[in-house]
């Protein structure tokens, strides 16, 4: 394996992403966790750049690192968080969960490395923002519209769900 710039970039970014995720799992305070996760999302945006998807990278930063993280911070602030001792049931569940996830990861990795994936190499010029915009608004116009309706519904739904109920106010 030649030590190309792409490889170094991928290596650094993936270490950042995985490190952020691991920190997120192991942090004690919820706010730190949110920040670690934002860091991970940011690293993933960098990987998108490596994969010739600059628009997605920007979107990732905007939506995940920006919007969703902020939304989550609001969620954290709106709910109270106590740091109790973990109960025996939770510890037992943690051990079993770790084993299960490890097995799952093992199977996944084994599959990825054993399967002969026929891979091509796309021309970076085909992945420009122009082409993406054309594809979305021509080929995928109807799904795009449906997605916008979905966003609207989700917005209304979220407002209704989070709103205090009438009888509770009184």
């Amino acid at each position: 394996m030649n030590l190309s710039g792409e490889f170094i970039a991928f290596f650094v970014l993936s270490v950042m992403a995985i490190g952020g995720a691991v920190f997120m799992i192991n942090m004690q305070r919820v706010m730190h966790m949110a920040l670690a996760l934002a860091f991970t999302f940011f690293s993933i945006a960098g990987i998108y750049l490596l994969l010739n998807a600059p628009f997605l990278a920007v979107i990732q930063v905007l939506i995940y690192t920006g919007a969703i993280s902020i939304l989550m911070l609001f969620g954290i602030m709106l709910t109270k968080h106590r740091y109790e001792e973990k109960s025996a049931v939770a510890r037992w569940q943690g051990v079993i969960g770790f084993i299960g996830v490890a097995c799952f990861l093992g199977v996944l990795m084994w599959t990825i490395y054993r399967t002969p994936l026929l891979s091509g190499q796309g021309n970076p010029k085909d992945f420009g923002i122009h082409q993406l915009g054309a594809a979305v608004f021509k080929e995928y116009a109807i799904p795009f519209e449906v997605a916008s309706i979905l966003l609207l519904v989700a917005l209304v739904g979220a407002v209704i769900l989070a709103k205090r109920e009438e009888n509770e106010c009184s």
């Binding site: 049931v89 569940q93 969960g97 299960g100 996830v101 097995c103 799952f104 199977v107």
Partner: protein, 621 residues
């Protein structure tokens, strides 16, 4: 006289049994008693022509039909009425009829009156079937059936713990003997290839069996007889069986069932005569039982227990007679004993009824003034059993002593004489304590119902005259030995034997009179002068205690160990499997804790297992 008529004899009680047991809620006391009495009387009536045919024309009724097939061989239901069987038929049906009559008075006002009659008729059927059978398997069948009836009737008042205990003891102890009988039957079938008594007899007479087998089977059959007839060492159940109603004691435990052992030995006498050792065993066990039970009888205080030990002792006499080749003497004594012992028991029952169910001798006395006829009857029974001429017991006991002497068993002869002394002593002790002197205890005497007195008087009459069936002229002996079942020498032994017997009996009576009637010798002083002897006799030679220590407790210990094994090992396994099932269930319910994360975890594990299962083949190419 056809066989079909003879078959009616056991059929009547059986039909009565079916009627009574299925209609036990339906029949009243009168109807139930009527059914039983009529059925047994019908049986008795049918035995009379059979007896006549056998006596006069020398007829032997035989009958046989195939019962079932055992491999290649057919087993028959068969009947053969030789004189000995006919004699037993007459005794059983006659005494049974009288006891049925008597029970109507004795059992009146009992809640399970109908059931009592049902059991009694079932017993009569079984006993009649037993004495008619000419097939060992059939004999065993009826043998067990009379045992069951005995169990049911001894435990008739099952709400009394003693009665329950006694019934169980009777059943278990006789069972020990029955095992011997069963082994003997199996051995005979193995070596002879037939259950028919006649085939076995032919095999024995033709020398087909080795002497060892003959001795072994004879002794095993005698073990069965020992259990049933209450011979030492299996006699302990018989006194306890007195917890049953008195008519039952009279019919089953004095006159008929306990005599079944004697009858069995007599019926298979050819087997015993073929083996000198077996005869020795029979004679010595009989002789020992006679003297042994007689000494115990001296110190008992329960009226029925004295009679029970007397029965054991008299049965020992019969065995002694049979063992001394006194076939006729044994059967003769069986007959007279059936009459006078049934008489004594029925009298004792009447005494008990008149004293409001008081059985302790020390609380009786003075009945002679109020119950004169009962006193006469009881006196007749006592004189008969003591062997005073001209009552029946004298003749039969004389025969026994003669045959023991003629057989050259001087030791057993002396034992017999001593037992006669003790018999006379304790019977008259009983008589004087019940009838003589002043009333002790219960003062209020009830008259005895007439329905109870009639059988007593009939039996008293029979006790007087039955001795003359054989003397003078040896008619009974000629009749019994005609078919060649046994041969006896009809030469009479010296006259001095009779004289000795009378003198000894008179001495016993006189001693009893001196101690209990005129009270010249204080019984307490006698008991105190030999305290240990009195204690040993009073405690029945500590045999019950010995059996308990040697047999019952170790077996109970084994039972405890096995119970522990069952409870802790087998039960533990059962509990373990239940516990595992519970554990699985608890884990399952723990998983259903309502938390989405747990469910996701389980889904994940399932998914991993599924993927691994699907791709496992590729993992190991």
């Amino acid at each position: 006289m056809s066989a079909q008529v003879a078959l009616l004899i056991p059929l009547f009680p059986f039909l009565a049994f079916l009627l009574l047991i299925f209609g036990r809620r339906f029949w009243g006391e009168k109807a139930a008693a009527g059914i039983g009495i009529i059925a047994t009387f019908a049986s008795f009536a049918v035995t009379l022509p059979v007896l006549w045919g056998s006596l006069g024309k020398g007829q032997t009724i035989t009958w046989s039909i195939p019962w079932f097939h055992l491999g290649e061989k057919a087993v028959f239901l068969s009947m053969r009425l030789e004189p000995v069987n006919v004699l037993m038929l007459v005794i059983v049906s006659g005494v049974s009829f009288l006891v049925h009559l008597y029970s109507y008075g004795y059992m009146r006002k009992d809640e399970r009156f109908t059931v009592f009659y049902a059991y009694l008729t079932l017993f009569t059927f079984s006993m009649l079937g037993l004495v008619m059978s000419a097939n060992l398997l059939q004999i065993y069948f009826f043998w067990e059936l009379v045992g069951v009836c005995s169990f049911l009737l001894v435990g008739f008042w099952y709400f009394k713990p003693e009665a329950k205990e006694a019934a169980r003891k009777a059943f278990v102890v006789t069972r020990i003997g029955d095992v011997g009988l069963f082994i003997a039957i199996a051995l005979l079938y193995w070596h002879v290839g037939s259950f028919e008594v006649m085939d076995v007899k032919a095999a024995v007479l033709n020398g087909k069996l080795t002497p060892g087998i003959i001795t072994l089977t004879a002794i095993l059959i005698f073990v069965g007889a020992v259990g049933k007839s209450g011979q030492f060492p299996l006699h302990t159940w018989l006194p306890d069986a007195m917890e049953g109603p008195t008519p039952v004691s009279a019919l089953i435990h004095a006159a008929t069932m306990v005599a079944a052992g004697v009858y069995l030995v007599a019926d298979l006498f050819f087997l015993f005569t073929a083996s000198h050792q077996a005869m020795n065993v029979v004679a010595y066990v009989g002789g020992f039982t006679a003297i042994f039970a007689a000494t115990i009888g001296v110190a008992q205080n329960d009226i029925k227990r004295v009679l029970a030990y007397s029965t054991v002792s008299q049965l020992g006499y019969m065995m002694l007679a049979l063992g001394s080749t006194g076939y006729v003497a044994g059967m003769f004594h069986l007959m007279t004993h059936a009459f006078f012992k049934a008489l004594l028991f029925l009298c004792a029952g009447a005494v008990i009824v008149s004293l409001h169910h008081e059985q302790d001798l020390r609380k009786m006395g003075g009945l002679w003034k109020t119950h004169r006829w009962l006193g006469y009857s009881f006196l007749i029974g006592c004189l008969a059993i003591s062997g005073i001429p001209p009552f029946s017991g004298f003749f039969s006991k004389d025969e026994i002593l003669e045959s023991a002497y003629a057989d050259g068993r001087t030791g057993l002869f002396i034992v017999g004489v001593l037992a006669a002394f003790f018999t006379a002593f304790y019977m008259f002790r009983l008589f004087f304590m019940v009838f003589a002197g002043q009333a002790r205890g219960e003062k209020n005497r009830e008259p005895v119902p007439r329905v109870m007195m009639v059988p007593i008087l009939i039996l008293a009459f029979m006790s007087i005259i039955s001795g003359f069936f054989n003397t003078p002229g040896d008619r009974l002996a000629h009749w019994l030995t005609r078919t060649g079942t046994a041969t006896i020498s009809l030469e009479h032994a010296p006259v001095w034997i009779s004289a000795v017997a009378i003198v000894v009996a008179a001495a016993g009576i006189f001693l009893a009179y001196a101690m209990y009637a005129s009270e010249r010798i204080s019984p307490e002083r006698v008991a105190k002068s030999v305290p240990w002897a009195y204690q040993v006799v009073y405690r029945k030679y500590y045999l019950d205690e010995l059996y308990r220590a040697v047999l019952v407790w170790p077996l109970k210990g084994l039972g405890w160990i096995l119970t522990g094994f069952d409870r802790f090992l087998i039960g533990g396994l059962v509990y373990l499997s239940a516990w595992i099932a519970q554990l699985v269930g608890r884990i399952g319910s723990r998983l259903q804790n309502g938390q989405a994360q747990t469910y996701v975890l389980i889904s994940l594990i399932g998914f991993v297992i599924l993927i691994v299962g699907l791709t496992a083949g590729r993992l190991f190419p």
